[in-house]
C-alpha cells in the first residue's frame, strides 16, 4: 500500500517530480563539482608551483663555506667537499619518491676562457665560471626503470635564446650565458677555449642561455665536462631537488626528534618539506638537505590563501545548493496540502502522512543525488581540464557524501512544511480555504 501510493504519486505527476528532481540534481551537481575541485586543487596547484623550480637544496654535510652569489659557487676546486653522482638514483627510492619531480646536480669550476673561432678571435682570455649540470639526463634507477631529469625540470625558467639549442651530453659542447656572450661577442657555432691549470679543452657553443641570474655570466657544460676540469670524476657539489610538497602547518614544522612514535610515523608519511628532506638525508650518505625557504615559504603562503578562498567559495556553493534543494522540497510539499488533508480525512495518522512524504523525498533525493553526482563529476573533470589541462580523478568517497547530503537537505526542507501541514484540520483544506 505504502509503496503503491508512492509509485502512484510519481507516475501521476511526473512533471512536478521531474522539476524537484532536477533541482536536486543541479544542486548536488554543483556541490559535487565544487567539492571535488576543492579537494583536488591543492595537489594540482602544488604540482603547478613546480614552475618556481627547486625547493630543496642538497649539499655535502662537512663542507667549507661556498663563495656563492646568485646560485654560482666561486670556490676553487680544491676547497670543500664533493658528493658522488652514483648515489642519486636513491632519491627515487625514498617513501615520497613519486613526489620528487626532478633533481639536478651542479659542479662549478673557475676557468679562463678565450674565443677560438668566430667574430672575436684573439680577444684576451677572461676569467669565468664553468657550470657543469644535466639538462635532461636519463638516470638509470635499476630494474630497467629510468628517470629523465635536469635543469629543464628544476630550473624551468632557464631559456636558450632563439637560434640555439642545449648541448648534447656526449659532445664537447657548451651553452654560454647571455651577458658573457654579448660582452665577449660570442655567437652560436663559435669555438670557445676553456682552460684550468690542469686541463684545457675546446667547446663548441650550441646556444646562448638566459636565466636572469648569475648563470648569465657563466658557461654551462655537461656535468662530465666540468668533472674533468675539476679533476673530480663522478662528483658534484650541489643538488637542487624539486619536490611536490604539502603546505607546511604547525605539525609539519615540528622537530622530528621531539615527536612521539605515532606522531613521528604520521609526520614521516606526510609530504611535508621537512619529512622529504629527512628522507633525502637518510637516502644519501653525508648530505644536508634544506628547504629553499624563498620557494617553500612563498608557495605555502600562496597555496594556503588560495585554498581558504576556494573553501569559502565551496561553502557558498554548498549553501546555495542546500537552499535550492530545500526550497524546492518545501514548495513541493506545500503544493500538496490538499492531498495531506484528503489523506487525513480518510483516517491516515500524522506519522503515516509524514512517512509517505519523507519516503517520496528520499526516493527523489537518491535519484536526484545520484544524477547530480554523475553530472558533478563530469563538470569537475571539464573544469579541471579547462583550467589545468589535466583531468581530475573522481573521488568515489564523494558519492555517499553527495547522496547523504541530498537526503539530509531534501528531508530538512520538507520537515518544516510537513509539521505545519500535520497541524491543519482536514476540513478547511478540503474546502479549499
Amino acid at each position: 500500500m505504502f509503496l503503491r501510493i508512492i509509485t502512484e504519486s510519481f507516475t501521476r505527476t511526473p512533471r512536478r517530480k521531474f522539476l524537484t528532481g532536477a533541482a536536486l540534481a543541479l544542486g548536488m551537481a554543483v556541490a559535487t563539482a565544487t567539492l571535488t575541485v576543492a579537494l583536488n586543487v591543492g595537489d594540482r596547484l602544488a604540482a603547478e608551483f613546480r614552475s618556481l623550480g627547486a625547493n630543496l637544496l642538497v649539499t655535502p654535510k662537512a663542507d667549507t663555506l661556498p663563495l656563492e652569489v646568485g646560485g654560482v659557487d666561486y670556490r676553487p676546486v680544491n676547497a670543500g667537499a664533493y658528493l658522488p653522482v652514483d648515489d642519486l638514483p636513491k632519491l627515487k627510492q625514498i617513501f615520497w619518491r613519486n613526489n620528487i619531480k626532478g633533481f639536478t646536480p651542479f659542479l662549478d669550476v673557475p676557468v679562463a676562457t678565450s674565443v677560438l673561432s668566430g667574430a672575436s678571435v684573439g680577444a684576451p682570455a677572461s676569467e669565468t665560471t664553468l657550470i657543469g649540470t644535466w639538462v635532461n639526463h636519463r638516470v638509470e634507477l635499476g630494474s630497467g626503470e629510468t628517470f629523465d631529469t635536469g635543469v629543464l625540470s628544476t630550473n624551468p625558467w632557464w631559456k636558450i635564446e632563439n637560434g640555439g639549442r642545449w648541448f648534447r651530453e656526449a659532445g664537447d659542447e657548451c651553452v654560454v650565458g647571455a651577458t658573457l656572450a654579448s660582452r665577449n661577442n660570442i655567437h652560436v657555432g663559435d669555438l670557445v677555449g676553456v682552460a684550468t691549470l690542469a686541463d684545457m679543452e675546446d667547446l663548441r657553443v650550441t646556444g646562448i642561455l638566459s636565466t636572469g641570474g648569475a648563470e648569465d655570466n657563466a658557461i654551462v657544460v655537461p656535468l662530465a665536462v666540468a668533472q674533468k676540469f675539476a679533476g673530480q670524476p663522478g662528483k658534484f657539489r650541489r643538488l637542487m631537488v624539486s619536490a611536490v610538497v604539502k603546505p607546511d602547518d604547525a605539525f609539519g614544522r615540528s622537530d622530528p626528534k621531539k615527536l612521539s612514535g605515532a606522531d613521528y610515523e604520521r609526520w614521516y608519511c606526510s609530504a611535508y618539506i621537512g619529512s622529504i628532506s629527512l628522507q633525502i638525508e637518510q637516502a644519501l650518505p653525508g648530505v644536508e638537505a634544506r628547504a629553499v625557504r624563498q620557494v617553500a615559504e612563498g608557495e605555502g603562503k600562496i597555496l594556503g590563501r588560495i585554498s581558504v578562498l576556494l573553501w569559502i567559495v565551496t561553502l557558498a556553493a554548498l549553501i546555495a545548493a542546500g537552499l535550492a534543494v530545500g526550497s524546492t522540497a518545501a514548495t513541493s510539499v506545500l503544493e500538496r496540502q490538499k492531498e495531506v488533508g484528503l489523506m487525513k480525512a480518510l483516517g491516515a495518522s500524522n506519522s503515516l502522512v509524514g512517512a509517505f512524504f519523507l519516503g517520496e523525498q528520499l526516493l527523489l533525493a537518491l535519484f536526484g543525488g545520484g544524477l547530480g553526482y554523475a553530472i558533478g563529476v563530469l563538470l569537475a573533470r571539464w573544469l579541471s581540464i579547462t583550467v589545468f589541462g589535466v583531468s581530475s580523478p573522481a573521488r568515489m568517497i564523494m558519492l555517499p557524501v553527495t547522496l547523504g547530503l541530498a537526503v539530509i537537505v531534501a528531508i530538512a526542507g520538507s520537515i518544516f512544511p510537513l509539521r505545519r501541514a500535520s497541524r491543519f484540520d482536514p476540513a478547511p483544506i478540503l474546502r479549499g480555504e
Binding site: L52, W157, R293, L309, A317, L379
Partner: protein, 385 residues
C-alpha cells in the same frame, strides 16, 4: 487605481513577500560578493606572489663592458619617483669577498666569506622568508651590526652578539671592519653562506665609494602593471637594464591564469545556481497569485492590465531585493577578503547595476507564467482547478 491595488497587494501578503524579498536579497548579496571577489581575485592573488621576494632587478646592461659592472649609487635617487608611483620596495646590493675573523681569543677561526652590502631595513622586506635568530636590523645607517648566514655561523661558531672582524685586502692595502652580529639568517639559499651588512660598511672597506652592484625591487600589481612599471623605471635610467626576475615572472604567468580560471568557474556555477534558486521562489510566488488573477478577471479586468500589476510588483521586489542584497554583499565580500587574504575586497560600484538588472530580470521571468493565465477562464481558477 493601479497603485492602490499594488499597495494593497504589498500590505495584504507581507509574510509571503518578506520570504520572496529574503530570497532575492540573499541571492543579490551572494552575487555581489562573488562578482567583487572575481574582479579582485587576480589582484589579490598576484599580491600574494610578492611573498616570493624581488620580482624586478636593475643592473648594468648585458652588452656593457666588464669594467662597468658596478653602478653608481645615485641611480637609487633617480629610480625613487617611479618606484614610489608603483608602490614598490627596493634595496641596493654590493658583493665583496673578505676574510672573516671570528672570536678574538686564542681559538680564532678564519674563513673567506662573501659579504653583501644592502639596506638592511629593506632587505628583510625583500626576503620575507628569512628566519632570523637574534634580532633583525631596522636601520640602514647602522654601521655597527650585521647579519650572518646560518652556514657561516655554524662554521665559525658565531652566535647573535658575537664580534667579528672583516679583513679586506687589495692593491691599496688592508682595511678592516669590526661588527657585532645582530642575528643569524636561515634562508636555504645563498644568504646562508654570506654576511650581510649595511651598504656603507661594505662600500667603505672595499673602497667602492658610492658604488652598488644591482638593485632588487618588489613591484606589486598584476603582470601588466608590473610590465608598465618596468618600462617607466627603464625610462628613468636608460643606461641600466631593468628586467623582471624570470623565475618569479614565469611562475606567476603560468599560475595566475589557472587560479583566475578556477575562481571564475566556481563563481559562475554558484551564480547560475543562485539565479535558479531566486527564479524558483519568484515563480512559486507568482503561482500563488493565480487566484488573484482569476478574481480580477472575473470582475472585468483586462488581462494586460492585471499582468502589468503583477509585473510591477515583481519588478519592485527585484529592485528592493537587489538594493538590500548589494549592501549585504559589500559586507560579505569584506568578510571573504579578510578570511582569505587578510585584506578587505573592495566593493565595486559597477557591480550594482549588474545585480539590479539580474534580480529584476529574474523576478520578471519568475512572474512570466502569469501571462499564460490570460488563456484560462476565470471560473476554473476560482474553482481551484
Amino acid at each position: 487605481m493601479f497603485w492602490r491595488i499594488l499597495g494593497q497587494l504589498f500590505s495584504a501578503s507581507r509574510g509571503r513577500l518578506a520570504v520572496a524579498l529574503l530570497a532575492l536579497a540573499s541571492g543579490a548579496a551572494v552575487t555581489t560578493a562573488l562578482i567583487n571577489l572575481n574582479l579582485d581575485a587576480v589582484r589579490k592573488v598576484s599580491g600574494e606572489f610578492r611573498t616570493l621576494g624581488a620580482n624586478v632587478i636593475v643592473g648594468p646592461h648585458a652588452n656593457g663592458s666588464a669594467e662597468s659592472e658596478l653602478i653608481n649609487e645615485s641611480v637609487l635617487l633617480k629610480l625613487a619617483p617611479a618606484l614610489e608611483s608603483a608602490h614598490g620596495v627596493a634595496a641596493p646590493y654590493l658583493y665583496s669577498v673578505v676574510t672573516v675573523d671570528a672570536g678574538a681569543d686564542q681559538q680564532s677561526k678564519k674563513a673567506q666569506v662573501i659579504v653583501a652590502g644592502s639596506w638592511l631595513d629593506r632587505a628583510s622586506q625583500l626576503s620575507p622568508w628569512w628566519k632570523i635568530t637574534g634580532r633583525p636590523i631596522s636601520d640602514r645607517n647602522d654601521m655597527e651590526n650585521c647579519l650572518v648566514g646560518r652556514n657561516v655561523a655554524l662554521q665559525l661558531g658565531i652566535q647573535p652578539g658575537s664580534r667579528i672582524v672583516l679583513n679586506y685586502a687589495d692593491s691599496a692595502g688592508n682595511r678592516t671592519a669590526s661588527l657585532t652580529v645582530a642575528g643569524v639568517i636561515d634562508s636555504g639559499a645563498q644568504e646562508d653562506n654570506q654576511i650581510i651588512a649595511n651598504l656603507p660598511v661594505v662600500q667603505k672597506f672595499s673602497g667602492l665609494k658610492d658604488r652598488i652592484g644591482m638593485v632588487q625591487m618588489i613591484i606589486p600589481g598584476t603582470p601588466p602593471e608590473i610590465e608598465s612599471a618596468i618600462s617607466q623605471l627603464s625610462a628613468t635610467v636608460p643606461a641600466l637594464e631593468v628586467r623582471a626576475v624570470p623565475q618569479i615572472a614565469q611562475a606567476e604567468a603560468s599560475l595566475l591564469p589557472r587560479i583566475r580560471g578556477l575562481i571564475f568557474f566556481m563563481v559562475a556555477l554558484i551564480l547560475v545556481l543562485t539565479t535558479l534558486c531566486v527564479f524558483a521562489s519568484m515563480a512559486a510566488l507568482a503561482m500563488e497569485r493565480r487566484r488573484d488573477v482569476g478574481l480580477m478577471k472575473a470582475i472585468g479586468g483586462s488581462i494586460s492590465r492585471i499582468v502589468r500589476i503583477f509585473f510591477t510588483e515583481a519588478a519592485a521586489l527585484g529592485l528592493a531585493g537587489a538594493l538590500i542584497g548589494y549592501v549585504a554583499g559589500i559586507f560579505l565580500s569584506r568578510w571573504i577578503g579578510q578570511r582569505a587574504f587578510h585584506v578587505a575586497i573592495s566593493a565595486r560600484p559597477e557591480v550594482l547595476p549588474i545585480v539590479v538588472a539580474l534580480m529584476v530580470i529574474v523576478s520578471l521571468a519568475g512572474a512570466l507564467p502569469l501571462r499564460l493565465l490570460g488563456r484560462v477562464r476565470p471560473a476554473e481558477i476560482l474553482r481551484g482547478e
